[in-house]
Symmetry: C2
Subunit: 300 residues, 2 copies
């Protein structure tokens, strides 16, 4: 399973970066290979100053070894070994009419001292962060999420849509980071779902990422925008930074356990603003977005 | 003591904001009064888009009531009441040749159920974050810190200078946020120092804040700079954001206990950049700064 999924994310990284380069037309991904001293490493691919993508990363990593102490406490185990691999991506488009997107698909194994697997699970998801709300885009993104989920279990979409809204929440602002999508974790073997079923589900979501995001990019990338709209995008990107640095477990875990900093923080947007006590005008497009972030909607 | 210090920070806020407005010459501080539902409130003063100061806040607050649960655990007490007041300031100048400065002076009291003081202490400090290193500015700032400290105790400067270097440290970057200054906390009654002595020390530091910072601003505010130098400033401001959102106890405490978000996050810079894997050229002015941030110096 471990090798199969590790191969899968290599291929998915190739597919996604190739497609994004075609869409961008100007910038290419820069590739950095890195090693983790304690075992494993990664292949980071970052695009910057493109025609469509101002900054983005599509990274894979596979790390293994002794489970770090902080994670031992977290999982309530002692002296375990682990293997973890995944693909993480964040794309920050230049045009404020094109939403930021984040996705992640990952697999984790834990071993006893004899090297036997004692636990294993999948996790991941994908979510959209618009700066201007085109309802049809939100519906499209969620519809793709739902269609994939429904093939595997009729309850998955509702469950994982809610988890996404709950997780990507800036509690200190009382608003969502974006308009959600899917978020799942600790997908373990049960009566209904063997690990192979979870593999099929997670890779099915991964295989439909481009279907969910690319049509939105194509539709919005050439729309004109004003400096005021660009400022609003940069202010909202500040909220993205706040979520990732204050609340996101993955980011904080990486920062506190000596992960490769530049691969973790590639998620941060290129140009960001903080304006004191900023509030959009009542009835404006900006206010309409905020309203949806404060009150998550059912899109499909 | 509580009323005396609370009055003191009101007056200090007036003095500091008046002087900064004179230096800026263009922008004025906007004042927001706010109430804390559980008791107390604050007077936030923010300046934006000035001639010298791109963004800054000089805030006072005085809050009281039942000690929040998260703080009870932190201090290892139960069912205590508290009073806390302080002045916090952060100034982000437009010109990358002018350093960012942060300062804070605060006082805390804890009470038992009969309303008797069971614990009380002062805390605070001030520290400088340059984007370009003028060694004479660093020496000036630290010399003022040292001169004030030496009046009260020959060991204070060495002790609190080191605490400042240790505290304002971006562990995940393995570099200091800035070039330090003073940081002290839990300044409690001892054989040598009664509370009145601590009051004298803390207010003495507060009274010399402008002496430490203003001459540096005056000297550098009219220097010319390039777009590349401005970009470097914005990238370094990203590190400031990382420290405040990932490591700063005061910020995190505020965010997690329902503080007034806009007053807490006024510390974040106005325009910020994150560039993937950015490294200054060897031997450049930018590299010289990084070297000092990685290896804190004794300035006086």
């Amino acid at each position: 399973m471990k090798d199969t999924f590790f191969n899968y994310i290599h291929e998915l990284q190739d597919t996604i970066t190739k497609t994004l380069e075609e869409i961008d037309g100007k910038a290419r991904f820069r590739e950095d290979l890195w090693d983790r001293p304690e075992g494993g490493g990664g292949r980071t691919r970052v695009i910057e100053n493109g025609e469509v993508f101002e900054k983005g990363g599509v990274n894979i990593s596979g790390v293994h070894g002794k489970l770090p102490e902080s994670m031992q406490a977290y999982f309530g185990v002692k002296d375990a070994d682990f293997f973890a691999c995944g693909l993480s991506l964040v794309l920050h488009p230049t045009n404020p009419m094109v939403p930021t997107v984040h996705a992640n698909w990952r697999y984790f194994e834990m071993y006893d001292q004899q090297g036997q697997i004692v636990d294993q699970w999948f996790g991941g998801g994908q979510d959209l962060t618009p700066y201007y709300l085109f309802e049809e885009d939100a519906v499209h993104f969620h519809q793709i999420c739902k269609t994939v989920c429904d093939k595997h279990n009729p309850n998955f979409y509702t469950t994982y849509k809610k988890r996404c809204d709950d997780y990507f929440y800036n509690a200190h602002r009382q608003e969502g980071r974006g308009i959600g999508g899917l978020f799942f974790d600790y997908c373990k073997q049960t009566g209904d779902m063997r690990m192979q079923d979870w593999y099929n589900f997670v890779t099915d979501v991964g295989n439909h990422f481009l279907d969910a995001y690319v049509p939105i990019v194509e539709k919005r990338k050439n729309l004109t925008y004003t400096q005021a709209q660009r400022d609003w995008q940069e202010i909202r990107r500040g909220r993205y930074v706040e979520f990732n640095l204050v609340h996101d477990k993955g980011t904080l875990f990486g920062l506190k356990t000596n992960g490769r900093i530049e691969s973790i923080l590639m998620s941060l947007p290129p140009h960001v603003q903080w304006v004191y006590d900023h509030h959009p005008e009542k009835g404006s497009e900006e206010a309409k977005l905020l309203d949806v972030l404060k009150h998550p909607k059912d899109w499909v």
